[in-house]
Amino acid sequence: MSKSNFTRRGVLKTSALGAGALALPQYLRADGHAGFTNAPGDSEVVLGFNVPQTGPYADEGADELRAYELAVEHLNGGGDGGMLNTFSSKVLDGTGILGREVKYVTGDTQTKSDAARASARSMIEKDGAIMITGGSSSGVAVAVQALCQEAGVIFMAGLTHSNDTTGKDRKANGFRHFFNSYMTGAALAPVLAANYGTDRKAYHLTADYNWGYTTEEAIRASTEAVGWETVNTVKTPLTQTDFSSYIAPVLNSGADVLVLNHYGGNMVNSLTNAVQFGLKEAQANGQNFEIVVPLYSRLMARGAGENVKGIFGSTNWHWSLQDEGSQAFVRSFGTKYGFPPSQAAHTTYVQTLLYADAVTRAGSFAPCAVAEALEDYEFDGLGNGKTLYRGDDHQCFKDVLVVKGKENPTSEFDLLEVVEVTPVDQVMYSPDHPQMGGADASLGECNNGA
C-alpha cells in the first residue's frame, strides 16, 4: 500500500519492516511514490464515488451510482463498452486505466457539505482514492471541490448547475461536465422569445440559496436581453413545500410569465401549486400566461406528473437523443438496469470516462498531469456533440438542450421532448464574465498533494 496524508507536500512515512518492527520516519517512499497523493500501485486504482444516498436527492444519487458502476465495468473491459466505442478518443481499451484495474468506493454526501467532505476525506485518507466524483447539488460540489484542491486529487463534478462551481469558486483540481445557469439562460431565452414573444413580463420565484441566485441572475439577464421585463423576484425558503402563498400573488402582479428557479422537490411542488392555481390556463396582459422551469430533471419531473406538459426548460442531456454516443449509453444502461438513464447518470458516466481518458493520454495519475490533459481538450461522441473542456475555468462547453414537457408521453420515462439543440457558440461566455465571478475568479495552482 502506498497511501499518504494529503495536505502536506512532504510526508513522513515508515516502511514496512515486518511485524512489530518500527522504522525511522523518512521522506517520501521511493517505490511507487510519484510525488502525488494516493499514487496507485501497479495492479489497481481506486476512484471515489461520492453521491447523495440519503435525503431528497437520494434517487439521483442512486442513478449516478448506477452510471459509475457501468463506467467502471466498461473501463475494465466488461459489458458492451458503452460510449467507449463512440468516444472520439480511442486510448481507452478496456484494460482499466493505464493497465490498472479500476476499483471504486462509494459514500453518502447526504446533500450536506460537511457530510460530503467527511465522506470524501475518508475516501482519500482511508481508501486511497485518486479521484473524487459525484454530488447532486452545487453547495456540495463547491465544498468537495475545495477539499480535493487542498488534498491534491482530481474532482470531477457530478450534477451541479450553479455558475459558482466553475465561476467564482472554480479550482484547478476541479472539472465540470454539466452545464450551468448562464448556459441555461443563454439557450432558453431565444426559444422563449420565439414561442412567447418579446413583450413579456416575468415573475421569478427563486429558491433562496446559491444556485437559485445564479439561475435567477442568468435567466433575468438573458430574457431582459431579448426584451422581456422582470416584474418581481421573490425568494422562497429551501425547506418550503407548500408554495401557495408565493404563487397566489403572481396572477395579479401584472406578470404574464412565471419563472420557477427551483430544483428537485421545490420544483415539483411549486409547479404543481402553480398549475393548481390555474396559472397554466390563465390570461394576462391579453396573452396566455406561461410557466418556465429553467432546469429540468426528468427524475423529478415525474413527481409533477401531468403538470409539466408544455412547459419549457433546459437539460444537460436526454435519453431520447439520437446521436451515436447517447444511443450507445442508453443501450448499455437500459439493458443493465431496465430503464433509461437520467442526465445525472449521463454526466457522471461521461466524467468517469473523461478522467480515465485524460490519465491515459497523460500517461500519469498525477493530478496536474491529468488536469493538463483535460484542459482545452476537445472531444466528441459522448452524447452532447462536440465538446470543449475549457482550460480557463474547467467548464465543458457543448450544445445545450432546450426541452418541453411532452404532451402525449408513451411511458413513464417519456416526459420531455427536445425542442431545440442550442449550438455551443450561443452559450459561450468569457471566463471573466461578471456572472462567473468576474476578473477575480481564478483557478489557482493545480495541486499534486503529497
Partner: protein, 411 residues
C-alpha cells in the same frame, strides 16, 4: 444503579492528598483510560489489516478520528447542561455553527494559525449562548427546548439565505486564494492552510507494521489534546460545588430557591459553558477541515447531539463521548459499505447463498444506513435505559461475577 458518576458521592472521609491533577480514585482512572484510548486511537481504531475484507470497519483515519474527538467535545459540553441540569436544549448546533463561522473568519482575516481561531470560536459561541440562554431560560421544560430550537432554526435559515455575504450561504465558507490574512504571509495565488505555528493540520506520520497501517495525524492529536482538556474540565465541573448545584437544579429548583440560591443563574452559566464547548468543537472542525456550511446548524444537527448524549448515557462522564463515537462511526463506516463490498465478504458462500446474504445485508448498509441508525436507537433505548454506559456496566458486572465465582471457591 446505572449512573455511578452522578450518584456516587466521593465523600470518602480519608483523602486530603490530591491525585491526578486533583482527581481521585475512579475519576483519575477514568481520565487515564480516556487518555490512553485517545493517544492509542490510531492503533485501536485500525484493528484489521489493510486490504482484508474487514478493513472496511477500520476507523483509524484522520478525518474520522478528528470527528470522534470533536463531536466528543460537543457532546461533553451538551451533557454539562442536559446531564446535570436536565434542561434539554434543542438548538445546540447553533453554537457549534457560530463557533465555526467565527474561527473561519479569524483564519480568513487574521491568521491561519488555528489557536486564535479556536479562541474566537469559543468566545463568540459563548456570547451567543449567553444571549440565547438569557432569553430561553425564562421558560423551562419543553418550552425551553422549543425556544432554543427556534433560535437555532432562525440562525440556520438566515445563514442559508439573507446572511450569505457573511456565511457564504449554501456553499459555505472556505479559504480562497484571494484570502490574505493579516498575520500570515501566503504567496500570491496560493490557498492558505490551517496550521499551528507552521505545522499543518493534515500532516501525518504513517507506520506500517506487517500489513497493518497506522496513521498518526497532527490535527487529530491537537483536537485530542483539546478533548482531553475538555473532558478533564468536565470531570472537575461534575465534582465541583458548581456541578453539585447544577444537579440540584435538576432535582429540585424550589428547594434551591428556598435555600437562598438562584437556579436560573446556575443554569445560565451551565448553558454558556456548554455553548463554549460547542464553540470549541465548531472551531476545531474548521481547524481540521477549513470549511463551514449552514447545515451544521440545522435542527437535525442539534438533535444529533441530544441523541449522542442519551445514547451514550446522559449525566455520565464518558457516556456522551461513547454516543458521539457510535453515531459518527455508523455514519461514516456503514454508509460506505456497498454491494460490491458485500459481495467480497460473502464470496466464500455458494453463489445463491451469497446473493441472498448480500441482499439481506444490503438492507442495513450503504444507502440504507439510516435504517440501521434508527434500529440501533430503538434497541439501545429499549434495552439499555442508561445508554451504552449501562451496557458496558452490565458486561463488566457479569464478567466480574463470573470471575469472582471462579476465583473464590466455596467457603
Amino acid at each position: 444503579m446505572t449512573d455511578q458518576t452522578t450518584q456516587t458521592p466521593l465523600a470518602k472521609p480519608a483523602p486530603a492528598k490530591s491525585g491526578l491533577f486533583g482527581l481521585e480514585g475512579k475519576d483519575a482512572t477514568l481520565l487515564l483510560v480516556v487518555f490512553a484510548l485517545v493517544v492509542f486511537a490510531p492503533f485501536i481504531l485500525n484493528p484489521f489489516p489493510e486490504g482484508s475484507g474487514m478493513a472496511q470497519f477500520n476507523a483509524g483515519y484522520p478525518d474520522l478520528m478528528q470527528r470522534f474527538v470533536i463531536f466528543g467535545i460537543f457532546a461533553i459540553g451538551f451533557n454539562i447542561l442536559f446531564g446535570l441540569t436536565g434542561y434539554l436544549s434543542f438548538g445546540h448546533a447553533a453554537f457549534l455553527g457560530v463557533g465555526s463561522y467565527a474561527a473561519m473568519w479569524s483564519m480568513k482575516l487574521f491568521t491561519l494559525n488555528v489557536i486564535p481561531g479556536i479562541f474566537f470560536a469559543i468566545i463568540v459561541a459563548g456570547l451567543f449562548a449567553a444571549a440565547v440562554g438569557y432569553i430561553s431560560l425564562r421558560r423551562s421544560g419543553i418550552y425551553f427546548s422549543i425556544l432554543t430550537l427556534a433560535f437555532a432554526q432562525m440562525s440556520y435559515a438566515l445563514a442559508y439565505s439573507v446572511l450569505t455575504p457573511l456565511t457564504g450561504g449554501e456553499t459555505g465558507l472556505q479559504i480562497k486564494n484571494t484570502d490574505n490574512p493579516l498575520l500570515s504571509s501566503i504567496p500570491e495565488g496560493e490557498i492558505g492552510r490551517a496550521n499551528l505555528f507552521g505545522a499543518q493540520m493534515g500532516s501525518s506520520y504513517e507506520m506500517s507494521v506487517g500489513s497493518w497501517l497506522f496513521t498518526f495525524n497532527l490535527g487529530y492529536y491537537i483536537a485530542a489534546l483539546f478533548m482531553l482538556i475538555a473532558f478533564y474540565l468536565s470531570i472537575r465541573i461534575f465534582r465541583s460545588p458548581f456541578g453539585m448545584m447544577l444537579r440540584a437544579v435538576k432535582s429540585n429548583q424550589q428547594r434551591m430557591n428556598y435555600t437562598g440560591l438562584t437556579p436560573k443563574t446556575y443554569t445560565l452559566y451551565a448553558f454558556i459553558i456548554s455553548g463554549m464547548y460547542a464553540g470549541l468543537a465548531g472551531g476545531l472542525m474548521v481547524a481540521m477541515d477549513t470549511q463551514v456550511g449552514p447545515e451544521r446548524m440545522f435542527w437535525t444537527a442539534s438533535g444529533e447531539v441530544v441523541i449522542m448524549a442519551i445514547l451514550g448515557g446522559a449525566g455520565t462522564l464518558i457516556g456522551p463521548v461513547l454516543g458521539a463515537g457510535a453515531i459518527k462511526y455508523m455514519e461514516n463506516i456503514l454508509s460506505k459499505i456497498n454491494k460490491d463490498v458485500l459481495h467480497q465478504w460473502f464470496a466464500f458462500l455458494p453463489e445463491g447463498m451469497e446473493n441472498v446474504m448480500v441482499e439481506v445485508a444490503n438492507i442495513f448498509v450503504g444507502k440504507q444506513w439510516h435504517f440501521t441508525l434508527g434500529i440501533v436507537f430503538m434497541l439501545v433505548v429499549i434495552f439499555l435505559p442508561g445508554g451504552l454506559v449501562e451496557g458496558a456496566q452490565r458486561v463488566t458486572a457479569r464478567f466480574r461475577r463470573k470471575k469472582s465465582t471462579s476465583n473464590t471457591p466455596a467457603e
